[in-house]
């Protein structure tokens, strides 16, 4: 009885599925394997990169960052700024529509930005300086500020989470701390909620009402022209399986092939491999600043003095030396603010004798150092294994807590003493794009209890970040960056473990794949 019902249910599901498959058969489909499973789709509420990447397809932004990290108009035609910098007027370009066919109006923009400002770090700084954000008419809106905010366009354009995505007013009215339930977007692709199988499959269909800009595409700037009808994300957690599927032509594009499989993919006929993101990623070792030993700057410095970025990076990227670079800096190599000022502590031969002396001076007396290790993520695990080794050689009593990312996520949020469910150290990584700017590098914030996990407290660094926000031009920005790097590598809210690049791989018949900090689907077609 039960079995027959189940069979009937299965058959029923199959029949329902039939028409959409038939429809998809003639369509141009791009089958993409994303970096991770994707659990929610709210560009403001969700902060994971994979959510941002999907959101970039579904929602458009007012400005878009180009590959030179310059904000360019996207949904906006342009802006006018008053001479005192306290009033900014924007105008939407013509022809913008949401996926339900409704035009995009200024009050949708105001509602969207209000929700975003409640969540985003740059948005919060903006909000603190905001007098009013108002819709002037259907296509114009205005910021009135109490104090100048020179980074306004950057804040609106940046793809670093949280994304200033433009959604309909009724959706943007959702509590910023609750997920939206309506995925009507403004971007070039429609999220097909009915075809979404969380953990397995995400489908986007081309939005015919989207009017791309006329300029050539450059990351998030310029025209977002979709050359395929459907983008289907297939989540394949096992890299071995994903590699085999790409070789067999069962998928078209794999966002994050692991480096050890790249030689195999290179040899496979019909597969192309290249660097995915020129801005790469930054590995980091995070200290808990609330408890000994790392509440003492000398203990943190002792670790930095023996930190071997080459070993850390080999554990992350494997044997390919083209894939990593040392970075005695808190800024991403290759970006405008990169500087090695004050980076001596991470350079040159590693001096254990001096480091041990520094550690002893901090008063370390052999207490346990609790290190949280997410063993399900190769990047965190690789770094952790190497760090555990150097800490032990430094004479530290390392408690290697091997667990999964979910548990690390929960435990690192606890401010309890390390012996009572808290922690001393964990590893993670940030996108190089995020570390290109002081405002988007969450690990650099040192506002004590309000800071990211580890809760470092340094007024000097906070002051320098504010100075960057206020910097009127590139020259001042560079000076601030040098001072910030010196302060950060002396105070050490965290230790950068190195800069590393990742690969992407795709079937040779695809055209238009570009290198960017996120997959750029527009402009990708079949040759």
């Amino acid at each position: 009885m039960q079995r027959r019902d189940l069979l009937k249910a299965a058959a029923g599901a199959g029949i329902l599925a039939a028409p959409r498959l038939a429809g998809a058969a003639g369509a141009r489909v791009l089958r993409f394997v994303p970096q991770a499973n994707f659990a929610n789709l709210d560009p403001v509420w969700g902060t994971q990169y994979v959510v941002r990447n999907a959101s970039l397809l579904v929602w458009d932004t007012l400005y878009g960052l180009d590959s030179g990290l310059v904000p360019r108009p996207q949904m906006c035609e342009g802006h006018e700024r008053s001479d005192d910098g306290l009033s900014w007027d924007f105008r939407l370009r013509a022809g913008l529509r949401f996926h339900d066919g409704e035009p995009v109006r200024a009050r949708d923009v105001v509602a969207s930005l209000n929700r975003w400002m409640a969540r985003d770090a740059m948005g919060q700084v903006l909000k603190a300086r905001l007098d009013a954000l108002e819709a002037v008419d259907d296509v114009r809106f205005r910021f009135r500020l109490r104090a100048p905010f020179p980074k306004l366009l950057l804040a609106l354009a940046k793809p670093m989470p949280n994304l200033a995505a433009i959604m309909p007013e009724r959706v943007a009215a959702t509590d910023p701390f609750k997920q939206i339930g309506d995925y009507i977007g403004s971007g070039p692709m429609v999220f097909r909620r009915d075809e979404w199988v969380p953990g397995s499959r995400v489908v986007f269909a081309r939005f015919d009402g989207y009017v791309p800009r006329s300029e050539p595409s450059d990351w998030l700037a310029g025209g977002k022209r979709m050359l395929v009808d459907r983008v289907e994300w297939q989540i394949i957690p096992d890299p071995g399986t994903a590699a085999a599927a790409l070789q067999n032509g069962e998928i078209d594009w794999w966002e994050t092939p692991i480096p050890d499989l790249v030689p195999l993919l290179r040899q496979s006929p019909g597969v192309r491999v290249d660097i995915a993101d020129p801005l790469g990623n930054v590995g980091l070792l995070r200290f808990n600043h609330l408890y000994p030993p790392f509440n003492d700057v000398r203990a943190r410095q002792a670790v930095a003095m023996v930190m071997n970025q080459a070993d850390e990076m080999h554990a992350v990227v494997g044997s390919d030396d083209a894939l990593w670079r040392p970075m005695p800096s808190v800024f991403t190599p290759g970006t405008p603010l990169y500087t090695e000022a004050g980076g001596e502590i991470l350079k040159g031969p590693r001096d254990y004798t001096a480091a041990k002396a520094r550690l002893a001076a901090s008063g370390y007396n052999g207490e346990k150092v609790v290190m949280l290790v997410a063993t399900d993520l190769a990047i965190t695990k690789g770094q952790s294994d190497v760090t555990a080794d150097i800490l032990t050689r430094l004479g530290m009593n390392v408690d290697y807590v091997a667990t999964d990312w979910g548990t690390v996520g929960a435990r690192r949020a606890k401010q309890d003493p390390p012996a009572k469910g808290g922690w001393n150290i964990f590893h993670t990584w940030l996108a190089g794009l995020d570390c290109a700017l002081p405002a988007t590098n969450i690990a650099l914030r040192t506002n004590g209890p309000k800071a990211w996990f580890g809760w470092p407290s340094s007024e000097e660094i906070q002051g320098l970040i504010t100075r960057w926000y206020d910097a009127p031009d590139a020259r001042v920005e560079h000076d601030v960056a040098a001072a910030l790097n010196r302060a950060a590598l002396d105070f050490l809210p965290y230790v950068p473990t190195g800069f590393f690049l990742g690969y992407q791989a795709w079937r040779a018949d695809l055209t238009g794949i570009v290198k960017a900090p996120f997959p750029v689907f527009w402009g990708v077609g079949r040759g």
């Binding site: 039960q2 079995r3 069979l7 249910a9 299965a10 058959a11 599901a13 199959g14 029949i15 329902l16 599925a17 039939a18 498959l21 499973n37 659990a39 929610n40 969700g46 902060t47 994971q48 959510v51 969540r119 989470p161 949280n162 701390f177 609750k178 339930g181 199988v197 969380p198 953990g199 397995s200 499959r201 297939q234 989540i235 394949i236 957690p237 096992d238 071995g240 399986t241 994903a242 085999a244 599927a245 070789q247 067999n248 069962e250 399900d376 990312w405 979910g406 548990t407 996520g409 929960a410 690192r412 949020a413 401010q415 993670t428 940030l430 969450i442 309000k450 800071a451 990211w452 996990f453």
Partner: protein, 313 residues
């Protein structure tokens, strides 16, 4: 007979109650914080606390169990913390692949294992018998995923007969559907074939030593008829029992097989949910699997009367 069925069905209620209480308290005690996972790497502790409160994770055990049991009793499995989708909907989306995989494995395993077991019993001590027994022990000693990778390497990558991963719904055509499922079913079937072949052989040997089989032979019935009609029917009870109990192996194996072949079924849903501590989904899936297991074995009990007319309730 009817009284027996009613009693057996009623007896499953306390069992399911124990399962429900166990599953719920298990996850209540779990240390992972879904709020922290949802908030992601960029979130501040304040934001996490807000999310936790909005999810209702800060209320006491009994309140949450009471509410949960009440909703379950009304067929509402709750809403996934991650996807905001109803758990019932997520399960429905993934039931087809798992059900197809299991049914195909079951059918193929029976078609292979029963004749093998019968053959081995008929030629006890022969090379065939020893081969079957060796295969049976090996099937139990090799981890499912190792079989999976070997099969995928040989038959998908080298020979290119089947896809290496994925699932094609039945609506996409019978052959593509079957093609995608053959390797996973072969992977999952290994241990099941071993189990059924073994019990078939044992149970056949028991039956073949009985007097009435000798009588049947003496009456001049053909060897095949004796083996497959008389003997197999009488040997069916233990075989059916093991087929029912072995569903537990299939469920456990499906979790691994679906992850090797990237099949969007309930097994992968379970693993994903556990790694992400998506409480409502874990609860729903474990309850469903246990319920299915209980129901299948209830059906097996009732099937006895069909196979063995001596059993009356």
């Amino acid at each position: 007979m009817l009284g027996y069925i009613v009693r057996r069905v009623l007896a499953t209620i306390p069992v399911m109650g124990v399962v429900a209480l166990f599953v719920f308290s298990l996850l209540y005690l779990a240390p992972g914080d879904p709020a922290a996972i949802i908030a992601g790497d960029q979130a501040s502790p304040e934001q996490i606390a807000l999310i936790r409160a909005s999810l209702g994770l800060d209320r006491p055990f009994l309140v949450r169990f009471g509410e949960w049991a009440w909703r379950i009793a009304h067929g509402d499995l709750g809403t996934s913390i991650f996807t905001n989708l109803p758990v019932g909907h997520m399960i429905a989306q993934r039931i087809e692949p798992t059900l197809s995989l299991m049914l195909l494995t079951l059918v193929v395993s029976l078609l292979i294992a029963v004749p093998l077991g019968v053959l081995a019993a008929a030629r006890q001590g022969s090379l065939v018998d020893r081969g079957v027994m060796l295969f049976a022990v090996l099937g139990f000693s090799t981890p499912v995923f190792v079989i999976g990778y070997v099969l995928a390497y040989v038959f998908a990558l080298r020979l290119d007969w089947f896809p290496v991963q994925g699932y094609v719904p039945l609506a996409g055509g019978f052959w593509p559907f079957l093609r995608a499922l053959i390797l996973p079913a072969a992977t999952l079937g290994g241990i099941y074939i071993a189990l059924i072949a073994r019990i078939t052989r044992a149970s056949m040997l028991e039956v073949l030593s009985q007097d009435y089989i000798r009588t049947a032979r003496a009456k001049g019935l053909g060897r095949g008829a004796v083996l497959f009609v008389h003997a197999l029917k009488n040997a069916a009870v233990p075989i059916v029992t093991v087929v029912g109990l072995g569903v537990a192996l299939l469920i456990g194996g499906a979790v691994v097989t679906e992850s090797v072949f990237a099949i969007p079924g309930l097994g992968r849903l379970t693993v994903d949910a556990i790694l992400r501590r998506d409480y409502p989904v874990i609860q729903g899936v474990v309850l469903l699997f246990s319920f299915a297991y209980v129901v299948i074995n209830l059906l097996v009990d009732l099937l006895y009367t069909v196979f063995d007319p001596r059993i009356r309730y």
